[in-house]
Amino acid sequence: MLTLLARSFGRVSRMWAASALLLVGFQVALTSAALSLQESGDYGRLFDAVPAFVRNWLGPSLSSFSGMTALVFFEPLVILLLVLFAVYIGSELASDVEDGLVDLMLARPLPRYWLVTRSLIVMTVTALTLVLVLAAANVASVALMAPDGVPGPSGKTVLNLAAHLFALTWCFGGVTLAVAARLERRSGVLGVLTIAVIALFLLKVLVEFSKRFEPLRWLTPFDYFQGTQILLDKAPVTLDLTVLGTIGLVGAAIAYWQFARRDL
């Protein structure tokens, strides 16, 4: 198993490193912007300047240094980067089938479920470490750049935001595993999941902006990561993490079941 893991980690290491750099860069840019607004005292004007629906959505992250530096955890680009990264990693099973590598590996005395376990571990570890890199960048940039006497986000807030971001990423990674255990082409898995991710994200946006879509709120996993509510300490953290974790677990369970019985 360790050999399989090492091989898979090796294949995604550059992509992981590039993503980590992007996340760190994003955090530094955001902290710089927060610092600039803090020094010019423009938070009030910024809050007033944005449309009401943006205020409702991003709320306290636009009104203080600590809020803005924490925005990185639920900024759409960051969320989509991490989710799509997990989707890519989770699609490894389909890639193994497509490239015939599964023939080589399963010609050895390895149980089929090892390949699912390997992909699950790689997806989990890479997603978790990226979120940890982001959290570390957040803490470090705030510690290094915050003006004297201006607080950054609390440790609890950072931890909650990071946990939600990881759970959301893992949720989509688990669903990807289920799809990848069924399909034979990585491009097919990426196509299906990318469309699904974007559609569910759009649903989340619609839910935020229009009450007509409110009844559909529960359908999108993105709704279980309520960044502004976490900043206000009002989010149902346990419920949200449980829902996201359960979706991911169900996806992983389907992947094990599907991969064990399918033709390769």
Partner: protein
């Protein structure tokens, strides 16, 4: 009594309505070099992938050295060296890293002496091994594929079109390697091919498969023996009498001074029956394996 190296029993695989393989039953004894012949799409790869538990049978079973290929897949695969029809590779790995990776997930690490012998046999240099696989030629990839199948010294080798893409020198090297394994008697080789000359050279016994169904399983000598020799009888003057009736002999064509007959078995009865006719010359040709196999592929008749 030891279990057969490979035992297929009513092995059947349907892909929806399409027949991949139908009721394939055959046995390969330990130490045999067994050829599995068929045209493209005949079901060779399907049978092999069923043995490797990569496909699940619609019905029937496959066993390797007594271990069911599905229920006891790990035990079966512990004893198998497998070369897929297309050589899968990790393009970012060097040849050496590729073999090291596969060796480390295999049943046992390959012995360095065995690897060296294979590198020498297949003319793989240290420089080749340090190159990334994405830069390999098709033949080089195939050589690495063969080496990974052989390197752990498995009891059963299952090779899908092993020489596809190899140059004649490497085909010779492959044949010598298989001959060496056969001589040692410790390895059973099951190889699929549609290259008749390769099978004729390497295999002791062959199975012919056509549209998913087994046509025949024979030794090469048996296969040749089942097919008639074509005999041409030339006469010194026109002959108008009826062709004598000899059991098994069939007429291909007749002209005044020439009869062409297909004669299974010994020629003696025919020669006796020709007594009294003005025979000037008798010529015959033995069918090549290619003639026989192509005939069987075309007819699809069990023999």
């Amino acid at each position: 009594m030891s279990a057969p190296a490979i035992a297929l029993e009513g092995l059947t695989k349907y892909y929806g309505p399409v027949v991949g393989l139908e009721r394939l039953s055959l046995t390969v004894e330990p130490g045999e070099v067994f050829g599995f012949l068929g045209a493209n799409g005949a079901g060779k790869t399907t049978a092999i992938r069923l043995m490797m538990d990569l496909l699940r049978p619609t019905s029937g079973s496959a066993a390797v050295l007594g271990f069911d290929c599905h229920r006891e897949a790990l035990e079966a695969r512990r004893r198998i060296g497998y070369l897929p029809g297309e050589t899968p590779l990790y393009p970012e790995l060097t040849g050496a890293a590729y073999l090291k990776f596969l060796g480390s997930i295999g049943p046992r690490p390959p012995a360095p002496a065995r690897l060296d012998a294979l590198f020498r046999r297949f003319d793989v240099s240290d420089l080749d091994l340090q190159r990334r696989m994405r830069d390999y030629s098709h033949g080089m990839k195939r050589k690495l594929g063969i080496i990974q199948a052989l390197m752990s010294e498995p009891q059963v080798l299952i090779l899908d079109e092993p020489t596809s893409g190899l140059d004649p020198l490497m085909i010779d090297a492959f044949a010598e390697e298989i001959a060496g394994l056969a001589a040692a008697g410790r390895t059973t080789v099951f190889l699929s091919s549609h290259v008749l000359s390769e099978v004729e050279r390497i295999c002791g016994r062959i199975a012919l498969i056509r549209r998913g169904s087994l046509v025949t399983v024979r030794t090469l000598d048996e296969l040749r023996g089942t097919h008639p020799r074509r005999v041409t009888i030339l006469f010194s003057q026109p002959v108008t009498t009826a062709i004598p009736t000899v059991p098994g002999v069939t007429t291909v064509s007749r002209r005044d001074r020439e009869w062409v007959l297909d004669v299974p078995g010994p020629l003696g009865p025919l020669i006796t029956a020709l007594g009294g006719l003005p025979v000037d010359d008798i010529r015959y040709s033995t069918p090549t394996l290619e003639d026989i196999v192509l005939g069987l592929f075309a007819e699809g008749q069990p023999c």
